[in-house]
Symmetry: C2
Subunit: 300 residues, 2 copies
């Protein structure tokens, strides 16, 4: 399974980066291949200062070894070995009318000291962070998420949509990071879903990514915007950075377990502003976004 | 002691804000007075978009009540009452040649349920974060820190200087946030130092703040700078934000214990950039700063 899934992730990385380059038309991804001293490594691909994408990363990694004590405490296990692979992406567009997107698809195995698998699961998701809300874009994104889920189990979309809203919640601000999507974790083989079935589900979601995101980019990338729109985008990017640095488990564990700093923090937005006690003008488009973020909505 | 020290902090806030307004010449501090539902409140003073200071806050607060379970775990105590007051300031200048400064002076009391004091201590410090390093400025700042310490105990400066270097360490980057200063905590009455003596020490440090910082501002505020200097400042401000959101205990506890968000996060820089895998040109002024930050120096 681990080889099959990592092969899938490599293909997905190629598909996503070549489609995003095509949309951007100017910038190309640069690639950094890195190795992990304790086992494994990854391929980080970064796009910067494009016509459409100001900063983005589409990274894959496949790492293994003995589980760090930090992670042993987190998973409440003893001294075991592990394998983990995943694709992580964050795309920050230049035009504030185009939303930021994040996605992650991952697979984890744990072994006892004889090498026997003692646990294995898939996790991941994808979510959208608009700066200006176009309801039809939110609906489109969620519809594609739902479609991928419904092919496997009709309970998945409502469940994973709620988990996404719960996870990407900036508790100190009492607002969502964005308008959500899907979030799932610990997807383990059971009577209803074999590991193979979970593989088909996760790759279905991975395959839905470009169809869910790129039509929105194509529709919004040519819209006019003002310096005030950019300022609002940068203020909202401050909230994005707050979530990633204060609350995101992937980021915090990556940093605590000596992950590759630049690959982890590539998720941070290119430009951020923090203005004291900022609140947008009443009845503005900016305020209407805040109202939606305060109370996650059903989009389909 | 608590009334005497809070009275001192109120005067110090007035002195610092009026001196900084005088230096800025354009912007004035705005004041937000807030109350804490569970007891106490504070006075937040913010300056923004000045001629010299792009963003800064000089805040005081005095809060009391029963210690939250989060803080009980942190202090390893049971269900006790507390009083805490402090002044916190962060000043982010516009000109990248002028350093950012941070200072904090605080006093804490803990009571059993009959109201008897069971513990009490002072804490605080002050530290400098330059974007371009002028060695004479670093020496001046540290000399003033040392002078304030030496009046009380010749072991204080080396001890509190080291604690500052250790505390403001961005471990994931393996670099200091800035060039340090002083950091002290749990300064409790002992045979050598009565609580009254600690009061005199902490207020001595508080009184040294303007003399340590403002001559540097006056000297550097008129220097020319380029857009490239600003970009470097914004990149370094990204590291400042990383420290405050990932590691700073004051920030993290403030957020976890429902402190006033805007007063806590006023410390975040006004403009930040995150560029993937950025490293300055060899032998540049930017690189020479990084070399100093990788190995905290003795400045006096």
């Amino acid at each position: 399974m681990k080889n099959k899934f990592y092969k899938y992730l490599q293909e997905l990385q190629n598909n996503i980066t070549s489609k995003l380059e095509e949309i951007d038309g100017v910038a190309k991804f640069r690639e950094d291949i890195w190795e992990r001293k304790q086992g494994g490594g990854g391929k980080t691909r970064i796009i910067e200062n494009g016509a459409v994408f100001e900063k983005g990363g589409v990274n894959i990694s496949s790492v293994y070894g003995s589980l760090s004590s930090e992670m042993q405490r987190y998973f409440k296990v003893g001294d075991v070995d592990f394998f983990a692979c995943g694709l992580s992406l964050v795309i920050h567009p230049k035009n504030p009318m185009v939303p930021t997107v994040h996605a992650n698809y991952r697979y984890f195995e744990m072994y006892d000291k004889t090498g026997k698998i003692i646990d294995q699961w898939f996790g991941g998701g994808q979510d959208l962070t608009p700066y200006y809300l176009f309801e039809e874009d939110a609906k489109h994104f969620h519809q594609l998420c739902k479609k991928a889920c419904d092919k496997h189990n009709s309970t998945f979309y409502p469940k994973f949509k709620k988990q996404c809203d719960d996870y990407f919640w900036n508790s100190h601000r009492e607002e969502a990071r964005g308008i959500g999507g899907l979030f799932f974790d610990y997807c383990k083989p059971s009577e209803e879903m074999s590991l193979e079935n979970w593989y088909h589900f996760v790759t279905e979601v991975g395959n839905s990514f470009l169809k869910a995101y790129t039509p929105i980019v194509e529709k919004r990338k040519k819209l006019d915007y003002s310096q005030a729109n950019r300022t609002w985008q940068e203020i909202r990017c401050g909230r994005y950075a707050e979530f990633n640095l204060l609350l995101d488990k992937g980021t915090l564990f990556g940093l605590k377990t000596n992950g590759r700093i630049e690959s982890i923090l590539m998720s941070l937005p290119p430009h951020v502003q923090w203005i004291y006690d900022y609140y947008p003008v009443k009845n503005s488009k900016e305020e209407s976004l805040l109202k939606v973020l305060a109370h996650p909505k059903d989009w389909v």
